[in-house]
Each structure stands twice: as C-alpha cells, then as structure tokens.
C-alpha cells in the first residue's frame, strides 16, 4: 500500500482540485489565475481576429474556431480539472467519447446538408423545369 509514497499521491491529484489543507490554497489560486489569464488572452485574440487585416480574410473563421478549441481546452484543464491523472482516467475517456459524438453530429450534419443543397433542386427550379 505504501510503496508509492507522498509523491505518488501528489501526482494523483489535479492541481487545484479538492483543496483541504491550507498549504495548497496559494497553489490552487495560482492555478485558477493562470487559467483566467490564458482564457482572457484567447478571448481577446479571437475578438481581435474579427477586425484585423493581418489575417487573410476567408481564414478568419478557421482562426476563431482554433482559438475557441484552445480556450475550451484551457477551461477543461484549469477550471474543470479534467486531466490524465489516474483518478481522472474515466473522465478523460468520457470526454474523448463525447468529443467524438459532437464531431459526428456537427460535421456530419454540415456535410450532409451541403451535399443536399448542391444536389437537390429548389422548388422554383423544379417549376421552371416543368414549363
């Protein structure tokens, strides 16, 4: 039971998670502050991307999406404490599965619907063809 001593226990715990001794309060506050700074920076970057001319216009939505994904990652690690630590393995796996479903729902819908709108004629096009 004791062959992985305190170091092992410390590694099991996510920084900032379940603080119950006074010595770790400073470290936990710093974790949340670091998360806040990163999140504010990424938010500012994506607002900045909307009205800059430094980024090639058509690629701005991609840049915003990438920044959003990065910020979600920051929130997951620093605020929700979803990490790859041993006590967190199930949470990380569930997240991976949820991410798969979200990708299938969103990308699949977009894929199918753009094909439909390219391949199916609208009603007035059909009426014109029948004349």
């Amino acid at each position: 039971m004791s062959h992985h001593g305190l170091e092992g226990e410390a590694m099991d715990r996510t920084p900032g998670d379940d603080i119950d001794d006074a010595g770790r309060v400073g470290a936990a506050v710093r974790t949340y502050l670091l998360g806040l700074v990163l999140a504010v920076g990424l938010t500012a970057a994506s607002f900045w991307a909307t009205d800059t001319h430094l980024i090639y216009g058509p690629s701005v939505p991609i840049a915003i999406s990438v920044l959003a994904l990065a910020q979600m990652g920051v929130h997951l690690v620093f605020f929700l404490h979803i990490t790859t630590g041993p006590d967190n393995t199930n949470n990380a796996l569930a997240l991976a599965f949820g991410f798969l479903i979200v990708c299938i729902v969103v990308l699949g819908s977009l894929w199918i619907m753009t094909h439909l709108s390219q391949n199916v004629h609208s009603m007035d096009q059909i009426m014109r063809m029948q004349r």
Binding site: M1, S2, H4, G8, E9, D12, G16, D18, I19, D20, A22, V25, A28, V29, Y32, L33, G35, L36, A39, V40, T43, S46, F47, A49, T50, G57, V60, P61, I64, S65, L67, A68, Q71, M72, H75, L76, F79, L80, I82, G85, P86, D87, N88, T89, N90, N91, A94, L95, F97, G98, I101, V102, V105, V106, G108, S109, L110, M113
Partner: protein
C-alpha cells in the same frame, strides 16, 4: 489491513492504481455528473449543427452581421469568464470550510451570472422589437433556440447557486453538501465552455462572414 493503511486520511485511500478499494465517493459523484454534462454538451451540439446549417437562411430578413452588437457580446463573455473564476474561488473556500469566503465568492458568481442574463434578455427583446423575432427566419429560429437554451441553463444554474448558498448556511460543510457543490461547480464551468463555442461560432464568425 495494516495499521498504516487505517491511519491514512480518507482521500488517500483510492488512488486509481487499483489499490485501497473502490474509488472515493467524490470521484464517483464527479464522474457521474460529468457523464450528464457530456450528454448536455451533445444536446447543444445538435443545436449548433442546426444553427450552422441554417445560419445563412435569412429569408430576406436581417442577418447576424446586421443584428449582433459585439460590444455586448464582449461584456457578456467577461461576466461569464469572471463568474467561472469566482466559482473556482468558492471551490477553494469550500475546501477550506470558510463560510464567509464561500458566501462572498458565490454571491459574486451569482451577480455576474445575473448580469450576463440581463444583457441576454435585453438583446433578445431588442431583436424582437426590430422585427427579428424567432419566427422571422430559419436563421433566427435556430439562433434563439441555441442561445436561449444556454440562457435557460444559466437561469437554472442561478437557482442552483442560491440553493447551494442557503444549504451551506443551514447545513454547513457536510460531505454530501460538498459533493452537491462539486456538481454545481462542474455545471457552471461547463456553461462557460458552451458560451466560448457560442460567442466564437455564432457572434464572431457571423460578424466576419
């Protein structure tokens, strides 16, 4: 069981290494609620997909670019991000069993959440007054469904937050109350994650394309 094992504090028992028996109640509660939150995220992803498909179908009505005021979106984002931070501060205060700091941090979290909601209701009413209600076009139907669904979640979160403040006052820092608070903090942080997707993909992307 030897003497050292029984002398260890509670949270050291389950380690995820398959030693010391099943995972602690805290880990199991967090896992179960995380599964629920992921199902909520999947529901939101369906609304996101509907919005992405319909965002150009304005039926001659106003587009997102004409309607959205990015300054309001920035203020809403700041409110929700700050409230996520103060919610984290409340988690630390709960760990420290500090009634005063718990109540202060939760009150600030609630006020920021309420400010977010006020801005959202103001935005919705101004759209409806300008003739851009949910029945105007497919774009606006999907917009109101998606953003409104997030707003309903924030409203539910505020009610839950008030309940948590009252329970900490009335019942103290009992283990089951702290587990309830763990679920609340996961819920509140998840709402912020969904808002990140909302302000990026709905407000910012439609203002550039």
């Amino acid at each position: 069981m030897n003497a050292t094992a029984t002398a260890l504090p509670r949270h050291r028992e389950a380690t995820g290494h398959g030693e010391g028996g099943p995972a602690s109640k805290r880990v199991v509660v967090g896992y179960g609620f995380w599964i629920f939150l992921l199902s909520d995220i999947i529901m939101f992803s369906a609304f996101f997909a509907a919005y992405a498909v319909l965002s150009r179908e304005t039926a001659g009505g106003p587009s997102g670019r004409e309607l959205f005021d990015l300054r309001d979106t920035a203020i809403q984002t700041a409110c929700l991000l700050a409230s996520s931070f103060t919610c984290g501060m409340a988690s630390i205060a709960v760990g420290q069993r500090s009634q005063l700091w718990t109540q202060i941090a939760l009150l600030v979290t609630g006020l920021l959440g309420a400010a977010f909601l006020v801005l959202e209701v103001r935005e919705f009413t101004s759209f409806v007054e300008r003739g851009a209600g949910p029945s105007r076009s497919a774009f606006l139907s999907s917009f109101f469904t998606l953003v409104g669904c997030h707003g309903v979640h924030v409203t539910a979160g505020l009610l839950w937050l008030g309940t948590m403040m009252a329970q900490f006052l009335a019942k103290g820092f009992r283990e089951n109350i702290r587990h309830r608070y763990l679920c609340f903090s996961l819920f509140w942080h998840t709402l912020d994650i969904i808002w990140v997707a909302l302000f990026s993909l709905v407000y910012l992307v439609s203002s550039v394309s």
